[in-house]
């Protein structure tokens, strides 16, 4: 998890070094150190409004599909927004599920912006009609992120479902026609689409959108397909150089800080923000440490409890633990530890690796060794599962392939591999905390 998705002006807060105040920390890492200890309120948080989704992306981080009957009501959602306003949470990343399928979606968006809480929502584009696009273009406080995981229909639809490419492009066309510039085209980088980075950039440019690339996490249904979809080591290196070349033009949500071990740091804050500057609220009000960790292990509390969201953020024992000094574990002795900080907690957890060891995609190769050394399939399933079709246990997936025809059968006992044929998926699976905002580093 990462967190400050920021953008570019990179943050290494330290690099700047011109702390204006005498009291300002002079060390480069001081700001990061502050963040590691946590802030009084998240800088930005992700809020999945519903688990309902009209797509069924194979890599959905939140295993969405069916609406949960315990979903927060409109009034409960408004009370949560009131808390955001009191805590001065500048904006929230709304996702799902497909958030626009909630009947009160626009009402909640209006309520948030009326209360000084900006909204960026992720969508598969299915509800972005020309009329909606015009309305969105008229608001400074709402940003839109269209999810697309292939620069061509062939590549995209395998992951997100038949027709989802056309749907997303139609939505982008409506936004562009309405004069909405700078909306986000959000892409989860996979083994299948990593060769299309230039095409994605061209697509974003064509619609006057901004490209946002994020890392595939083995979270939610992603755990079923991660083995087949995550970029190879060579692809990671190519991705790293591509990102370096594009600098500020492309957002990443600081998603790829594990690549920093290749050399020069990528722009962004180099730390895991889980429970420190970022968190996730799910549709039933459960608060998790990060958007990629919907699992009991990372459940901090629920907004329906007496203390509300603020109480969870401030007092949850899990968050206190995440904000305490962490040892680097087996990574501490690695020369690259200061660069990658051991990588992503969720990526380790859902691949069955120890949290204090290397990231499964460790660029110096320690992850591969760890994966090989696991006993059997140690991967935990993500806790809530709202998939429309039952999933099989992950144990069989290791052998599944993208072409596994069993995937097309509705029975659920087949390996769910990359069942590339279902209907589209969705959920923009990537939320990140400061997504979209330009993390302008520091002043001072």
């Amino acid at each position: 998890m990462t967190v400050l998705d920021g953008t570019r002006p990179s943050p290494a807060p330290a690099a700047h070094g011109v702390p204006p105040a005498p009291a300002a920390p002079a060390r480069a890492s001081s700001l990061v150190a502050q963040f590691e200890r946590g802030l009084d309120a998240p800088i930005c948080l992700t809020w999945e409004l519903t688990y309902a989704c009209n797509l069924a992306c194979v890599h959905c981080l939140s295993s969405s599909g069916r609406r949960d009957p315990r979903e927060l009501t409109t009034d409960e959602c408004k009370a949560v927004i009131d808390e955001f306003e009191r805590m001065q949470i500048f904006y929230v990343n709304i996702g799902g599920g497909e958030p626009t399928v909630r009947r009160d979606f626009w009402e909640l968006v209006d309520y948030a912006t009326d209360h000084h809480v900006g909204v960026k929502f992720s969508t598969n584009g299915s509800r972005i009609t020309p009329g909606v696009a015009r309305r969105l273009a008229a608001s400074d406080y709402v940003d839109v992120q269209i999810s697309l995981d292939g620069a061509t229909a062939e590549v995209n639809d395998l992951v997100r479902g038949q027709g989802s490419y056309d749907t997303a492009l139609a939505a982008m066309g409506h936004l562009a026609d309405a004069g909405f510039t700078g909306f986000k085209l959000s892409v989860v980088v996979t083994r299948q689409n990593v060769a299309q980075l230039d095409d994605f950039k061209a697509l974003a440019d064509r619609f006057r959108a901004q490209l946002r690339l994020t890392r595939l996490r083995p979270s939610g249904r992603g755990v079923d397909v991660w083995d087949e979809l995550h970029p190879t080591a060579d692809q990671q290196r190519d991705l790293y150089h591509w990102l370096l070349d594009h600098g500020e033009d492309v957002l990443t949500g600081d998603s790829f800080f594990h690549l920093a071990a290749f050399g020069e740091a990528l722009p962004g804050l180099n730390l895991c923000g889980a429970g420190r500057v970022v968190c996730l609220i799910d549709p039933v009000g459960d608060v998790y440490a990060c958007p990629f960790a919907i699992h009991d292990e990372f459940l901090a509390g629920n907004v329906r409890a007496d203390g509300g969201f603020a109480g969870v953020w401030r007092d949850a024992p899990l968050f206190a633990e995440l904000r305490s000094p962490q040892s680097g574990g087996t990574c501490a002795s690695c020369a690259h530890f200061d660069s990658c900080r051991g990588g992503c907690m969720a990526a380790k957890f859902f691949t069955g690796l120890p949290l204090d060891g290397p990231d499964p995609e460790c660029v110096v190769g320690h992850g591969e060794a760890s994966l090989a050394g696991r006993n059997g399939d140690a991967r935990p399933a993500s806790s809530p599962d709202h998939s429309r079709r039952p999933r099989t246990s992950r144990t069989s997936t290791a052998t599944a392939t993208a072409t596994d025809t069993a995937a097309a059968t509705p029975t659920a006992t087949a390996p769910v591999p990359v069942s590339f044929t279902r209907t589209p998926p969705e959920r923009s699976c990537d939320e990140h905390p400061l997504a979209g905002s330009a993390l302008r580093r520091t002043v001072g």
């Binding site: 920021g6 807060p13 011109v18 702390p19 204006p20 105040a21 005498p22 009291a23 300002a24 920390p25 001081s30 700001l31 502050q34 802030l39 009084d40 309120a41 800088i43 001065q88 500048f90 904006y91 000084h116 900006g118 960026k120 400074d140 406080y141 940003d143 400061l434 979209g436 905002s437 330009a438 993390l439 302008r440 580093r441 520091t442 002043v443 001072g444």
Partner: protein, 93 residues
Amino acid sequence: MAQTYDGTRPWVLDPQVSLRPEPFGALAYHFGTRRLSFLKSRTLLEVVRSLGDQPTGDAACASAGVGDGELPRYRTALATLAATDMIRERVGP
């Protein structure tokens, strides 16, 4: 519309910017540009907050207790804020 900062001119925080005090200083978020900045000290926060009430940027620094020796660094910080539209030159009185 990014502006060049001149400490002898009057400035004001852009109305679309929200400030959130933090132990290290403050977070500043511009709803129009969707840009987040970190103000790395409480003093800088004070300066930024008082800009609208002071005749010049330099006066705002002085009122927040910034000494002459530190002024250049604050001017640099304010220039960064001006370049990203967080603050803007005030017109009128």
